[in-house]
């Protein structure tokens, strides 16, 4: 199988924009989308009429044509939506880069805007599953009658096995949250700004689905984030220091399912993320040793450990020690989620992590990682997924 592709350094991220992050935005998802897209274009120094491409998630409720229309934009030559929940996050940028690289579009906006907390909480799972016999509902029919019907429950099933296989403990999961909340505490944009926690706080938090505690689960948020992608050549003439898209990839493997991949021989890994990692490293021509910081999708703590392993930042089963030894903290060998992640800043389906990587690689992040030249950014885990390898320019 060929892992290398032709996307290396063809496109760049030139603008980022976001709304505030809250539990109740008090306005429509459409307005959030317009606000964050507008802010991203402003950041890039581009006009609404420059936009000719738009990408979002299938789960986003704001159609590209509506966002474009209300922005007062012009003609679109590329519009696309990506499936599989948070697994879509980095793939929005991948598709934008592909469109730019092939000349299908010149300026592509990727956005995700949602009142996830105040309107449609994902944490409640598939309680409102439609009774019509479709492929999707029949699939969840293997789990729903038994009560296994929330994202936390599907992750917990894998986490329990991981604990037994590798000797990981609830405290090992908790250290991921403690690290994220430590970063969030010094990020004024984070929902949990100035609210660090201790490992004791984690251990005292109630069970959601054993072995997962409340503080193993990311928060639920309202908000919107957008990024602007154009060619690297053009990017160098724009307002901000460009962030190169060194590589971008999607991945789904044999026996892949949507959160319920319980049938592979070994359920403790994230093989789709391994597939994505191989493509990123092959395309960018670098390895994990060349990455100084990372945005690791953190909707649930156990999958942060598995991702560190799949990307080769540590060996299989060793992530618990990697985290315990402080590698992921400020000043460590691989600080992760310096914005606080989805455990600390906000849950915008992975898009706020992409924006943070851009700030880091511009050298303008609130918790700046010294010498950040290359960063890995990952999308939703346990689902068909995607990731980026981004690089500072110049």
């Amino acid at each position: 199988m060929r892992y290398e592709n032709d996307l290396r350094d063809r496109a760049a991220i030139v603008g980022i924009g976001a709304t505030e992050f809250s539990k109740d935005s008090g306005r429509s998802e459409l307005q959030l989308a317009l606000e964050c897209v507008s802010a991203a274009l402003e950041d890039a120094g581009l006009e609404h009429s420059d936009v000719d491409g738009m990408v979002t998630f299938t789960m986003d409720n704001n159609p590209a044509v509506e966002v474009n229309r209300f922005l007062g934009g012009g003609h679109l030559t590329f519009f696309s939506r990506i499936h599989y929940g948070g697994g879509a996050a980095c793939a929005t940028v991948q598709q934008a880069a592909m469109a730019v690289a092939t000349g299908v579009a010149d300026t592509v906006v990727c956005y995700r805007a949602m009142n996830e907390r105040s309107l449609n909480r994902f944490g409640t799972g598939i309680q409102d599953m439609q009774p019509e016999p479709t492929t999707a509902s029949a699939h969840f029919g293997w789990y729903a009658p038994y009560g296994l019907l929330t994202p936390a429950s599907w992750v917990a099933m894998v986490a329990r096995r991981y604990m037994v296989e590798f000797g990981a403990t609830s405290e090992d999961f908790g250290r991921v949250t403690v690290a994220a909340r430590r970063f969030a505490a010094t990020n004024p944009k984070a929902y949990f700004f100035d609210k660090p926690i201790t490992l004791d706080d984690h251990q005292r938090s109630r069970f959601i689905v054993e072995p997962l505690r409340l503080l193993d689960c990311c928060m639920e948020s309202d908000g919107g984030v957008a990024v602007v992608v154009t060619s690297l050549e053009r990017a160098r003439n724009l307002r901000c220091r460009p962030v190169r898209i060194c590589a971008a990839a999607q991945g789904a493997t044999n026996e892949q399912q949507m959160m319920t991949g319980f049938y592979a021989d070994d359920i403790t890994g994230l093989p789709e993320m391994g597939l994505v990692a191989k493509q990123l490293y092959a395309t960018a021509g670098i390895g994990p040793e060349d990455v100084q910081a990372a945005i690791i999708y953190d909707h649930f703590t156990p999958f942060v450990l598995a991702q560190l392993e799949e990307f080769g930042f540590c060996g299989r089963g060793e992530a618990k020690d990697f985290v315990k030894d402080g590698h992921i903290d400020s000043g460590g060998s691989l600080p992760i989620n310096p914005h606080g992640g989805q455990l600390g800043e906000a849950y915008i389906h992975g898009m706020n992590g992409i924006a943070e990587a851009v700030r880091q690689l511009r050298g303008k992040a609130v918790n700046q990682v010294d010498g950040a030249e290359h960063m890995v950014v990952t999308a939703g885990t346990g689902v068909p997924t995607s990731a980026l390898l981004l690089g500072a320019d110049g």
Partner: protein, 322 residues
Amino acid sequence: MATSKEEFEARLQEFVGLEIGAPEVGADLVNEPMIRHWCEVMEDRNPVYTDPAAAKDSVHGGIVAPPTMLQTWILDGFDMATPEKQPMNKQRELHAVFNEQGYTGVVATNCDQSYDRYLTPGEQVSGTTVIETISEEKATAIGIGYFIETRTTFRNQDGEQVGWMVFRVLKFKPSAQPAAAPAGDDGAPAAPVRLRAPRTHDNGWWWNKIDEGELHIQKCGECGVLRHPPRPMCGECRSIEWTSIISTGKGVINSYVIMHHPPIPGYGFPIACALIDLEEGTRIISNVVGCDLDEVHIGMKVSLSIENVDDEMKLPLFKPAQ
């Protein structure tokens, strides 16, 4: 009236630490008829509450009141049903502040009580209530709101503390209510039931076999490979021909979880969900029943028990193997 969230929350915090008003004094002294009524309703047959002779021989030396009656001694009686007739106090003022901002719903969520000793007939109970905490805004299944905790300290006529209670309510903005539960034949709301598995052309036969009391495993009609969940085509040989075998129902737990939150009607959380390696080599998700939750473990041997989980639905469940 437009009030910013900051102003609103600042106003709420002004109530924290306040006594809601003068102590509420019980209209009646602790007395045997009220104790008897309460015990009848609660079906509490303990003779120390109602039988003078038995009570005299007990450690109490006479009739005592059930400790859990503590709050009833100071409740308002029928006036409680007409809140507009109630005198204003700080608690009602606080609720009015919430109501103005659309947090019109109220639901009691927790009550913790502690008893210092038994009460005896003739004592007069009074309660002093303080608004102890107001949470930050929380999103709940019934709407966005704030948890209010009050602490009531109960004393007797001599000022001696006899117990306390922490009572927690959620003041919330009612969200769009789900459709009413379907009514049964007698007009009463039907009890919530577990979600059904939709039956398609691909899986309907399998659920039909469960209804008949058999756990089947799909088998390729061409190459014979076993597979679960059922699907239309064999991933090994692309054949769309298939048959099935009946599972022995013997398996080993590969992994498991205990479901706690959010509570979902019809399931009775906490329950154990497990990924089970069947003897035949396929895997299935199910519940482990027939043992304590803390006995469930990876590697545990289990065996099938097809059971009715409600009036209409059968599920293949698993129990510890004998």
